[in-house]
């Protein structure tokens, strides 16, 4: 992180400045001049001092195709969340508790830490799976209804829908 170029640093600074400014407006929920002015100052200071560790991406993250895929990811994720809740409701309400739990592992193709974190959070909220640990590129996942213990098949079953989109964003 020490050997970032100046342009790189500047573009990271601008990304976190914009994001923090959006958060500021959302929290204050007002467009009064003095509020905006204070917000611009404070967010600039925070963004400046957190360049080395707070930011994940340069300005290229805001390109239209990536933003489109982010919104697409949001819809896919919401649909999976609803599906997983119906699945949980069915399991909880059945008197005999139809579960077959176990822990499976699989390898991911994602390379950056941020994309792995998003994938881990997503598979926790998708049908029947709960991520337990990530070691390098191996995910360990608790599965409420184990269909296969083979890593490749498990990867296809659990993570492929999200991975395809995340590869295009990061």
């Amino acid at each position: 992180m020490e050997n970032l170029k100046l342009t790189d640093k500047l573009s990271r600074f601008i990304v976190s400045w914009i994001l923090l400014m959006i958060v500021w407006i959302a929290f204050t929920t007002s467009f009064a001049a003095q509020e905006l002015l204070v917000g611009v100052g404070i967010t600039a200071i925070i963004a400046f001092f957190t360049i080395p560790f707070f930011t994940c991406c340069t300005l290229t993250i805001l390109s239209p195709t990536r933003v489109f895929y982010m919104i697409y990811y949001l819809f896919v994720f919401t649909w999976e969340l609803i599906k997983s809740n119906i699945d949980v409701a069915r399991r909880v309400l059945t008197p005999s508790l139809p579960i077959n739990p176990g822990i499976v592992k699989f390898k991911t193709k994602l390379t950056t830490d941020y994309s792995r974190m998003v994938l881990a959070n997503s598979i926790t909220l998708t049908p029947g799976t709960l991520s337990i640990d990530i070691i390098d590129d191996t995910f360990y996942v608790h599965w409420i209804d184990v269909k296969t213990t083979n890593p490749e098949e498990a990867q296809k079953e659990i993570a492929e829908t999200f991975e395809k989109i995340l590869l295009k964003i990061f």
Binding site: T29, A89, V92, P101, G102, I103, L130, I132, Y140, V146
Partner: protein
């Protein structure tokens, strides 16, 4: 228009409260800690999100700031719930609460060998 928002808001609130109830029921009924985490996390995440969005929809015409605040809480729940459940699951495994396994064929618990290796390295 206001009737439409009322119907959407009321439906979301009802669905949300039903899922919150199912979350409590899942916590009570499931046999071991990992299955409890699964049921509890998923059901309360969607339940809370939909109930809070429902309240935002009911207020959206009077005062749009309610919707913005509701969205902040929804985003916060969506981020924080999986992280805390993940931390709890890993802590439980490190305390040797091994998951319940029904049809054991030898490789149903892929994490066991890894966690033993981690402990050996810690002792060195």
């Amino acid at each position: 228009m206001s009737l439409l928002f009322e119907i959407i808001g009321g439906a979301l609130i009802l669905i949300g409260s039903i899922f919150l109830l199912l979350g409590g029921l899942g916590i009570l009924r499931m046999p071991d800690v990992y299955n409890r985490l699964q049921a509890g996390t998923k059901a309360t995440t969607l339940g809370g999100m939909s109930l809070i969005l429902g309240v935002g929809f009911l207020k959206v015409e009077d005062d749009w700031t309610w919707m913005v605040k509701a969205l902040i809480i929804v985003i916060f729940i969506a981020f924080s719930n999986p992280i805390s459940s993940h931390a709890l699951a890993r802590a439980m495994y490190k305390r040797k609460r091994y998951p319940l396994i029904k049809n054991d064929d030898g490789n149903m618990d892929a994490y066991k060998e890894v966690s033993e290796n981690i402990k050996k390295e810690d002792k060195k």
